[in-house]
Symmetry: C2
């Protein structure tokens, strides 16, 4: 064994977007203490290098003093075989942390700074702590619109870009926060049936009870390699796939893995996150949906307008044809919250079922109409009618079936809710004057959504509905007793519904 080397060993621990190295406390060569627990080390072999946070191990079953362990993702990223000899050195903090410290001190950063930060993050040179420092420093008040532009560009450049070889490639994105808002699965077939190219790559839910990818997955395969995606989209004019296979703006995913547990959500970061993903996905025309309501992400019209300007500024600079709609975010959209329940709502709308939730149908038509108006041949104001015709005539569901077949149909899809169910009843008579988006999402998540696709919440009453004491407000569904109890306990603390007088029903913001 060469004098300066340790034997590499993969450790079966998933440390989720942070590289961790395991060194035995008695390791003579480097005397683990000198490296300080939780400071970073650099591991190298055959010209490959990786940075990792250090954990010190006292159990030779995990690593022996002559071994260096790496957590799963770090081992994969390093790309060196088990048992190979690796060299360990003190790691300097990533160079771009200087820029982060300048940001903390209130300095404005350049394109060059943001590019270096994105590069270091994408190469896993940042620990979670360092990413948190960057996110907070770049928080709410301290990125100006040019810095947001620089960050967006840097995030796009950190990964691959899809090229659809067409001049009009449309997409839509909602800034989130409204449970049940599953419009993409309606808009894609409508817009694709109109003939426009709409290759929708969606995320899975992170802190929400369902993402479009989680929901579509109940009906079709969503894990499509880029080649397959190109083939389907060129044939069908649309798709509803998971975006994770395409390596689009990977820095965004890493930052989100820190941002979400911290519960911080800055506007600048959000704009950069959304636009970088869409540009990397090859969009030329983008519709942004900003729901406004007392429990939505955006609570006041003035904030929505400021956010719209920000999207427009960055989008214009990046040559994206971007439009923003501000919509009613006072309550969840549709009835179901959770993948299976939302898929059921979507199918009811596509099937023109008279029981289909009308708010979901209306919103999908409104947004699809705006996208159809990106078509140079469509007269301004005609989009909604075209979208409605496509839906009512059955062309939308036919297109959806065709897309499902192309992606790979799930045989006999199960859209039934979980077998454990609980009814939440009105404690008084009156009118529903508030349905809290945050609380309903939290209850659905506690019930097991989105990992458990059949868990969630099914709303019976909506804003403005009259209720009698003892009537059912909503159902909770779950499949696992522990989740079911988590959800019921949460619901005991607060149902998420407020019952009041008819004149307390809040008026809608005008959507435009």
């Amino acid at each position: 064994m060469p004098n300066d080397y340790l034997s590499l060993r993969p450790i079966g621990i998933d440390t989720y977007h942070e590289n961790v190295a395991y060194l035995h406390r008695d390791c003579e060569l480097y005397r683990a203490e000198g490296f300080q627990a939780l400071s970073k080390i650099e591991i190298s072999a055959n010209g490959n290098r990786i940075l990792a946070v250090l954990n010190v191990v006292d159990d030779s079953m995990i690593v022996t003093p002559s071994e260096l362990g790496l957590s799963q993702q770090a081992f994969t990223q390093f790309g060196i075989d088990q048992g190979c000899m690796v060299k360990v050195a003190h790691a300097e903090p990533p160079e771009s942390m200087d820029a982060v410290r300048r940001k903390i001190n209130g300095e404005r950063l350049s394109q060059h700074d943001f590019t270096n930060i994105a590069k270091d993050i994408s190469e896993s040179r940042y620990s979670k702590m360092e990413m948190a420092a960057f996110l907070v420093a770049a928080g709410q008040t301290s990125l100006d619109r040019d810095e947001i532009l620089y960050l967006t560009r840097a995030m796009v450049e950190s990964g691959d870009r899809l090229d659809w070889q067409e001049s009009v490639v449309v997409d839509k994105h909602c800034i989130g926060g409204i449970p049940g808002n599953r419009t993409s699965m309606l808009i894609v077939p409508i817009v694709a049936a109109h003939g426009m190219l709409m290759p929708k790559t969606s995320s899975r839910a992170i802190t929400s009870p369902a993402g479009t990818a989680d929901t579509m997955e109940l009906l079709a395969n969503v894990n499509l390699e880029p080649e397959k995606l190109y083939e389907i989209v060129h044939h069908e004019r649309g798709c509803v796939a998971w975006g994770g296979t395409a390596h689009l703006a990977p820095v965004d995913d890493l930052l989100i893995s820190v941002e979400r547990p911290l519960g911080i959500d800055s506007q600048g970061q959000m704009v950069a996150s959304i636009l970088s993903k869409k540009i990397a996905a090859g969009s030329s025309h983008l519709l942004i949906d900003i729901p406004v309501g007392p429990t939505a992400k955006v609570r006041h019209m003035r904030q929505a307008l400021a956010l719209r300007k920000l999207f427009e500024y960055v989008g214009d600079q990046l040559n994206l044809h971007l439009e923003v709609v501000i919509t009613d975010g006072r309550q969840p959209i549709g009835r179901g919250i959770g993948p299976a329940l939302e898929a059921r709502d979507v199918l009811q709308v596509l099937e023109n079922n008279p029981d289909a939730p009308s708010d979901l149908r209306q919103k999908a038509l409104q947004l699809a109409g705006r996208i159809i108006e990106f078509d140079p041949d469509v007269r301004g104001g005609q989009g909604f009618a075209i979208a409605r015709d496509i839906l009512d005539s059955g062309r939308a569901i036919a297109k959806m079936e065709s897309i499902i077949n192309a992606q790979g149909r799930v045989d006999d899809p199960k859209l039934t809710p979980g077998h454990l169910s609980h009814e939440v009843l009105a404690k008084q008579s009156g009118f529903v004057i508030d349905v809290n988006n945050l609380q309903m999402a939290k209850i659905a998540r506690m019930a097991g959504a989105p990992m458990d696709k059949h868990a969630g919440v099914d709303l019976v009453k909506k804003l403005g509905d009259p209720v009698k004491k003892g009537e059912v407000l909503y159902h909770i569904y779950a499949e696992f007793p522990s989740d079911f109890n988590f959800a019921k306990n949460l619901c005991k603390q607060a149902t998420g519904y407020t019952i009041g007088d008819v004149d307390e029903i809040p008026i809608s913001f005008v959507a435009f």
Copy 2:
């Protein structure tokens, strides 16, 4: 086995100030994925509760699907025996994170907010990411002086307080950044010999090449329980001990474990850190040393003055008699950098050895003099002469011997430098016009200090000295070949010395 429980297992991994829980991916009960890797969970048993970051394990040698593993510190803190049945639940982010988010948004926080944050941190409810978010949010520009006061108070209240039962309890603290600045080991015996109570509790080095505790440890036991400390101090009027056993302002230690690897160092955080530790240690009179120089922590006199006001404001509000001296921080103090080399310098000064480094002697006398003037019976301006008399007469070394005996003398202390040595030579003739504090500290650290007590740097030339090409500027000492190579490589990049013309020697700031 009860239905909802997992068997507790300690995992031999030291995750350094962050609680980590290990759950097997196939754990049926909680289906690990639902908890999301690196989000937090709450573990409870017998009324004990603990929050931990979740790592997902795929290796049943580490944990089986029916077990829950806890990292070393988390297991100790939880206080439940191995094999006991524990319950796992989703953990909500700590409530005080709301205040952190308000701080990120630029709000001013209240005493109540800081108290809750300190409480949650001291109860290990914060992940490293969350602490990083707090530190950055509270960074350089965004804590006003009242907020610094609130934070200081909250940190004091997070731990225990020593009570010396006397009205004058003196202490000193240097804000750091100057290698070799080992004045405490001189000031304590001088001031104690004068009869004042000076119970010095020091830290070990974290990112510097030596702390007072690391250096004193070569001569005497520094790990003293509070009872033993009281006994020694009441008998000797002084001590030089490690402060870690007394549970003083523990939140400060936790924040430092995040702040240091991030390399962020805000003034507000520093003032709160220093003053909370000193108040918890029972000081009534405190002398703060702010060195100023181009590679010191404070680089301009205007910054030093602003920092002085901040110390004075917070100290006054907390009823501390506080004085600030601004000193020459243009270069390291003394010759040695590293525990053994610094101990040697200290003993030379105590022994009135004519070869003793005069800058160390002068600085120690200056500071000791200022502390002696806290004595109501000493006339203003007389402190320096009193301190010099105590040192010159041998009363200081006699007191030091007595303190060493009381703490527990190290028999036959070894102060020889490491056996691997390297001479760094002048590449040209001229005058030393700069000795870079940061680079000299870094070289000493790379050589192995402070973990390896005999490693470090020994300066031969100091600022203003004439040098001839090929003369020795300093020696590097190490005991381990890998450390020795790290240090030599670093030194090849930059020696830390600048040789120039006589008129380029920077003038000293006037110390006052």
